[in-house]
């Protein structure tokens, strides 16, 4: 009988799940696995740190909708994956992590590079498995992928002892899917849909508040249809960017801490808020008791534990966003027919009011400045980039400016560690996205702080010719922390100045990547044309105004109505 070893079975199992690429770093207990990979059936991208592997898998998953797969060895390899898994968990991204473990007979004996990977990963994953025998690898991998994508997606970790990877076994891939997996089915009733549709039809000042759940359930088309049918404006969370086109007349952009004045005002004055795949997090709500306090609320979410978690709602609809939106479209149409149409006049009044707020305090900045304002940089990238370009960001001021000023036209084009807020995400996530779509433009917009956490992977893109475009928004500081120390801690700047920031152009060149530098506004557009004009990895280091702050801002503990619109905007007014 021809038996395969566990490593070969693992690769076959991954191929059965349609895995196209792995992101990882090899190590001692994974030697037999990498020996099996050597035979070349499954591509593997060697990154320079396991955290980058997890972020790359996350980026791959966000742009494809399919689980990204990362690999790390036992002990430090596995612990290095954890930040990436925690980020994927917070943002509900399907990632499968494969970790090596010491041999089964050594577990618990503090062997070399032994770590309690399962224990450490529990709060950072949707589920985790230990594989006990080579024969069970196919079913465990099948379950892991199913759990990662089912219901509310999330990361799953599979820990494989070295002894399992070398064990020879006969395998059978013709199993039925296990029946006790946590498949979510709709828990909503037709009566709930009727009630929600009636609230929508009768509302005068409604807002759709849209999160990443719309992207996860591929419901962007249905969202747009319902918004256009009802003429209700749409605001998105950081996770929801791309779910609704930024240039659409009903788009309100982002809400919350750094949302625009008009958007936050519309939330404060709404009579109906329809939350779709959004979880009312603190960066959105501000002081929670005042959030949309005049509005009735409908919440659509696949996860029942999100309903009423932070904000009480009037009508919960638990289930898949696309299915529910489809049902709502049908029911709203039917009710509108009975009511002889949705009153466009009453909606127009609301839209005019929002436009007034928009004109009163627009999202803006000093457009005449000679230095490069970071917002100008983002607008310029947005103008120059391809329509379907993928944009990946780190965490901090540049992330918020990109969210405010980049014009997204489609889902799965925006990568951001939104919930965990992990610096060092942007560049490796862009790498993962680029591997998924080698022919599309992928732009990593990163801060000089976060980028310095991920420098070694310049070698990865260089060696593999991964044509990621890296824009360093260089303000020579940890800008968001500096802003908070400035605004809320009496200018007590403590450890936010990054001092001797490296010459990123030279650094890129040291890795064999083209680099360029821009220090004044006049040079920017030409530099961007050159930068985006080829299919090679490139780095553009842009010195931006180091004193620029992100406005508007809702101060910590304040309500959306108490947002600070910023000195510049007030002066303009």
């Amino acid at each position: 009988m021809d038996l395969s070893n566990g490593s070969e079975i693992l690769i076959e199992s991954l191929l059965q799940q349609n895995v196209k690429v792995l992101f990882g770093v090899p190590g001692g207990v994974l030697l037999s696995f990498y020996d099996a990979l050597y035979k070349g059936k499954l591509p593997h991208l060697l990154v320079r740190h396991e955290q980058a592997a997890a972020f790359a898998a996350d980026g791959y998953a966000r742009v494809t909708g399919q689980p990204g797969v990362c690999v790390g060895t036992s002990g430090p390899g596995a612990t290095n994956l954890i930040t990436g898994l925690a980020s994927a968990f917070m943002d509900s991204i399907p990632v499968v992590a494969i970790t090596g473990q010491v041999s089964a007979d050594m577990i618990g004996k503090d062997a070399f590079q032994e770590g309690d990977t399962i224990g450490i990963s529990m709060p950072a994953t949707k589920y985790s498995f230990v594989v006990r025998s080579a024969a069970e690898i196919p079913i465990v991998i099948r379950q892991a992928f199913h759990i990662a994508v089912s219901g509310r997606p999330g990361p799953v970790l599979v820990d494989l002892p070295k002894s399992v990877l070398v064990e020879r076994a006969q395998t059978d891939f013709s199993f039925d899917p296990p029946s006790d997996l946590p498949e979510r089915r709709g828990e909503w009733l037709d009566a709930d849909i009727e009630c929600a549709a009636e609230m929508i039809v009768k509302s005068r000042r409604a807002v759709f508040y849209v999160g990443g759940g719309v992207i996860a359930s591929e419901a962007a088309k249905e969202l747009r249809e319902l918004a256009e049918l009802t003429e209700i404006p749409v605001t998105t969370t950081l996770m929801g960017l791309g779910a609704f086109p930024s240039r659409h007349s009903l788009s309100l952009g982002m809400l919350g801490m750094h949302g625009s004045y008009a958007t936050n005002q519309s939330i404060c004055h709404a009579d109906l808020l329809v939350a779709i795949g959004a979880r009312f997090d603190d960066r959105v709500t501000g002081r929670v008791r005042d959030f949309a306090s005049r509005a009735k609320k409908i919440q659509i979410d696949v996860d029942p534990s999100e309903v009423n978690k932070n904000v009480r709602v009037d009508v919960p609809l638990v289930g898949d966003a696309r299915e529910i939106l489809s049902a709502l479209i049908e029911e709203t149409r039917a009710q509108a027919r009975r009511e002889k149409g949705i009153s466009v006049a009453k909606r127009q009044e609301w839209l005019r009011q929002i436009e007034t707020w928009r004109l009163e305090y627009p999202l803006t900045y000093d457009r005449e400045a000679e230095c490069v304002k970071p917002q100008y940089l983002v607008e310029a990238i947005s103008e120059q980039a391809d329509e379907d370009a993928i944009v990946s960001v780190d965490v901090g001021q540049h992330q918020m400016w990109t969210a405010q000023f980049y014009r997204f036209s489609q889902p799965r084009t925006w990568l951001s560690s939104s919930g965990l807020g992990s610096m060092g995400y942007g560049f490796p996530a862009a790498m993962g996205a680029q591997v998924a779509f080698p022919d599309r433009q992928v732009i990593a917009i990163v801060g000089d702080g976060g980028f310095q956490m991920t420098l070694p992977d310049l070698a990865t893109v260089s060696e593999n010719g991964i044509p990621v475009k890296i824009v360093v928004v260089n303000n020579r500081s940890l800008g968001m922390v500096r802003q908070w120390q400035h605004m809320f801690f009496e200018n007590h700047y403590c450890d936010v100045n990054l001092g001797r920031v490296p010459d990123f152009k030279k650094l890129a060149e040291a890795y064999g990547i083209r680099g360029a530098k821009v220090e004044c506004r006049a040079d920017l557009k030409e530099a961007l044309i050159d930068f985006l004009g080829d299919r090679e990895p490139q780095l553009l280091d842009v010195s931006v105004d180091p004193y620029e702050n992100v406005f508007p801002i809702v101060p910590p503990g304040a309500s959306l109505a108490e947002m600070l619109t910023g000195p510049l905007v007030v002066e303009e007014k």
Binding site: I118, G119, M122, P123, K126, Y127, S128, F129, V130, I147, G151, R152, D180, L181, P182, E183, R184, R185, E187, D303, P304, S305, V307, N308, K309
Partner: protein, 158 residues
């Protein structure tokens, strides 16, 4: 608020570890916890405390966890509406007495000196009230449960 959660899950230490971690993260204080295992299944009965506004969230959080098959939660109810009693005792006599006094009652859970009894239909609310006021008995009302036949999908508010 004091409440009681009973759940059935896959007999797997990873599932149990995740459950206890969920209690910790959600700020649920465990007063008593009883764990029973069978070959492929484990049962957990825990008398817990958490802020009233978070109880529903924790229930939903538990019921959608991978490996959890059925969750039921009971709220401490001091009025006559409670139809369950929780008893922690070193001897069987209070349990035997209740089962004898209330012939329609059912023993829902019994392990390590902890018992949950459904009292059943009672026309005599005074009798139920008297039962609830007995020392050592904690009255509960069942608030929500899931079906064990279809994973977490079939939710029944009771």
């Amino acid at each position: 608020m004091q409440w009681l959660v009973a759940l059935e899950a896959e007999n797997n230490p990873i599932v149990l570890g995740r459950l206890l971690n969920a209690f910790r993260r959600k700020g649920v204080v465990i007063n008593t916890l009883t764990l029973g295992t069978r070959k492929a299944e484990m049962t957990v009965m825990a008398l817990v405390e958490s802020p009233e506004e978070s109880v529903e969230h924790v229930f939903h959080f538990l019921r959608r966890m991978v490996g959890v098959r059925e969750v039921t939660y009971y709220r401490h109810e001091s009025t006559g509406r409670a139809s369950f009693v929780f008893i922690e005792t070193d001897n069987h006599s209070p349990v035997t007495k209740i089962l004898a006094d209330f012939p329609l009652s059912k023993l829902i859970f019994a392990s390590q000196g902890r018992y949950l009894i459904e009292i059943g239909e009672m026309r005599d609310s005074a009798g139920r009230k008297a039962l609830h006021s007995e020392a050592g008995l904690l009255p509960f009302a069942r608030i929500g449960t899931t079906s064990n036949t279809a994973g977490i999908a079939n939710l029944h508010d009771v």
